[in-house]
């Protein structure tokens, strides 16, 4: 019997004579954290919807050995899903939480604990319509619902897109606790999700054109203490660096903590102020 969490064999999907998935085969095993990349129209979303049992298709889809159509409830019980675009739901947040927790069979507090850990103030948000939350708040809530259960497959579409650095660090920590799960993290930009994954699958025109292991060196939960110096006070720099939770007494020397998987993104931000920087020190494992 296969140990794969997901098995796709010769998966085909055609919309009005347009072949979106073309005999696609892919196995995902426990511990595989896959960056699913590809341009628009490559077939990423269609493949995900086939795994979620939302599309009729040719070929075979098995999740934990089961057909997601025939055994829909059993399959989805163990799949956490975070869509790229939050649905425009008008219902209050607490109704959505209650509904999700009831279907999954967990206490809603497990989901709220994760959403709150990521910085969502549910005391304020619980009675609001979901559609009235900000993009980041919606993302945190949907991540809370996806992770607040015993899922052994996580499917996330651009999960960090609307998150601030602090919330991203929490997400990295939460994912680090689930390294035995299978994960599919779909993104247009590999650099956004690269630190989270150990395998890259690139799709083009409904086929897998690249399936490669990547060196799994970054521990998602690691933090790096960071100290920066700039040549003179700069309001734009100060605003940018404060978003990462950095603090300074004099506006010249800044200290903070950067999540390990976020280091490339952080350095990308710093590169915009390269002319101002006089010193950078990053120290893995040191929180300050």
């Amino acid at each position: 019997m296969s140990t794969a969490v997901v098995e796709l064999k010769s998966l085909e999907k055609v919309f009005r004579r347009h072949r979106v998935l073309d005999r696609l085969s892919l196995d995902i095993h426990p511990g595989d954290r896959i960056a699913l990349v590809g341009s628009n129209g490559a077939g990423k979303t269609t493949m995900i919807r086939c795994i979620l049992g939302q599309y009729r298709h040719g070929g075979v889809v098995r999740v934990r050995g089961m057909d997601p159509h025939a055994a829909r409830k059993e399959v989805l019980q163990h799949v956490g899903f975070v869509p790229q675009m939050p649905p425009p739901l008008r219902m209050p947040v607490q109704e959505l939480l209650r509904y999700s927790a009831n279907l999954v069979g967990v206490d809603p507090s497990r989901m709220t604990a994760i959403a709150e850990a990521m910085g969502l103030d549910l005391g304020e948000a619980a009675r609001k319509p979901f559609s009235k939350l900000s993009g980041g708040q919606k993302q945190k809530l949907l991540i809370g619902i996806a992770l607040g259960r015993d899922a052994d497959l996580l499917i996330m579409d651009e999960p960090t897109a609307n998150l601030d650095p602090a919330a991203r660090q929490i997400l990295f920590d939460l994912l680090a606790e689930r390294l035995d799960s299978g994960m599919i993290i779909s993104s247009h930009r590999l650099e956004e999700v690269a630190p989270l994954v150990n395998r890259v699958v690139e799709m083009d025109r409904g086929q897998v054109v690249l399936d490669d292991k990547v060196e799994d060196m970054v521990d998602p939960s690691v933090r790096q203490g960071c100290r920066l110096k700039i040549g003179g006070r700069d309001e734009a720099f100060a605003n940018a660096i404060r978003e990462w939770g950095f603090e300074s007494a004099d506006g010249l020397e800044w200290t903070g903590v950067v999540a390990g998987p976020d280091r490339l993104k952080f350095l990308g931000v710093l590169s915009r102020y390269a002319g101002r920087l006089s010193a950078i020190h990053m120290d893995e494992g040191n929180d300050r």
């Binding site: 939302q54 019980q77 008008r90 509904y99 999700s100 279907l103």
Partner: protein, 275 residues
Amino acid sequence: MSELISTMRLDVAESLRARWFVIYALVFGGIIMGLLIFGLTESRIMGVTGLSRTLVTFIQLSMAILPVFILLSTVRTLAGDREAGVFEYLLSLPVSLGGWYWGKFLGRFAVVFLPVFLAMVAAVAWGLVTGLDVPWGHVSYYIALLMSLTVCFLGLGFLISAFARSTDVGQGVAFLVWLLLLLFLDLILLGLLIRTNVPPELVVAIALGNPLQAFRTAAMIQFDPQLILLGPSAYVILDNFGRAGYMAWAVVYPVAVGLLSAGFGFWWFRRSDLQ
């Protein structure tokens, strides 16, 4: 809590915050308030007066507004939800398709039926407060008719939504269905009977098969037991059904149409792409 009840509750929570529901509730609340305030209880038409008169008018107006409102709002919200990714997200949760579909049906029924029911209750309360005779038989039957009509058009709406892949197509089809049913109301059928050589049995059969007509005739039979207003078709109805038989038909038949339509919609929903 079962997934059916959970989904029903979720749909109610969602619908109560929708613009269409606010307009819908205002329309029916406004109609009944208007009828009561502007003194229709005092007028006398065809020997019908008091609260009966108000209720007859309310039923006639409901028949004109309710079907198209239910059809368009149901199709628009269901097809719109599918387009906007609501189905993608909520159907990624472990809910059975039956629990989801029928839960939504029940939730939508509750939301659509409640305002018209409350409007009837308001009329009765007004009658009690102002000392009018409350025609309890009429009130009960009209509530049953409204329930029947709601189920019928909700079922048709769910069927259209299951097939329509976009809001535009769904709304267009829903409007056509309503127009078709409207075309086959009695005046047009009588016209056909007179102008063409269509067998009268066929024309009457079409009238009996049109839920809108069934509803209209049943409302009429309350204050016109001989169906004089209906013309020659009345003989067929009264000879074959009798008054009580036709009243039962007018409640049961639209419910059957609605449930069969919704059932067929569910069959299609299960075997097609969910998104």
